[in-house]
Amino acid sequence: MAFTVQAEIKKDVLLLRMQGELDHHATEKIRGELIELMEEQNIKHIVLNLAKLDFMDSSGLGLMLGRYKHLQKKEGSMVICAISKPVKRLFEMSGLFRIMVIEPSEDQALMRLGVAG
């Protein structure tokens, strides 16, 4: 299934709802646009909703790690929510769980960053 992402901006928080398969092909297509959007809108935090992400490999990990490093420079954070079992396994394997915040739902993730509702 092709990859799509829906973006919503709430103050300095970028909410990304990812859908489909996040592989090398997909990351190459969205990376530039994502970086541009983050700079234009002066984004400090990202919430990744992965509820509908069916597949991800190490290219997806690379994309997330890249954005995380960028946010870190601004003392921002990355919050992951609604993560599926297979994607969770990849996170555990790569150690991403140790640096990113995980919340069960989108509402809780937005609440953590003070932009819920």
């Binding site: 190459e28 190490s58 990990l61």
Partner: protein
């Protein structure tokens, strides 16, 4: 039931999804678990991505070869390119090692392959290419059932 399939496809990134679909279709008749299917799709994705990014450095007019063999409950996957080859296989297999940090490669490809498969064998010859051979025993496949 033993089975064997071999084919080649162009080194374009669209074919990463194609290769994942192929492995999923190949094992479908053996009733794999969802977990096994995800594992197989992930390792094929990693190996094919390696061939495209590292073997051919993004050149899109080359061939990636994939062979699938099912024999006595064991699925073997071979992914081969005729690209640059790797200078140091041991280094490449280390977690988080990457030659392309500027491309935001995570360096987790081989770690994922090793984690999801029973065995991973890599052979590479400078300027001639790289071959990754992996195998996995599928628990769901019962001997003599097919």
């Amino acid at each position: 039931m033993n089975n064997h399939a071999a084919f080649k496809f162009r080194s374009i990134s669209d074919n990463e999804a194609f290769a994942r679909m192929v492995v999923a279709s190949f094992v479908a008749s053996y009733d794999p678990t969802i977990g096994e299917l995800t594992d197989l799709k992930t390792v094929v994705s990693e190996a094919v991505t390696n061939a495209i990014i590292h073997g051919y450095e993004g050149r899109d007019d080359q061939w990636v070869y994939m062979t699938l063999t099912m024999e006595d409950n064991v699925l073997s996957i071979e992914v081969k390119d005729e690209g640059l080859g790797m200078s140091n296989i041991e280094e490449a297999r280390q977690p988080l090692f990457t030659t392309k940090p500027e491309m935001e490669r995570s360096g987790m490809g081989f770690t994922i392959m090793e984690h999801f498969m029973d065995s991973v064998d890599v052979s590479s010859v400078h300027s001639q290419g790289t071959t990754i051979r992996m195998s996995k025993h599928l628990a769901s496949v019962q001997a003599g059932c097919h």
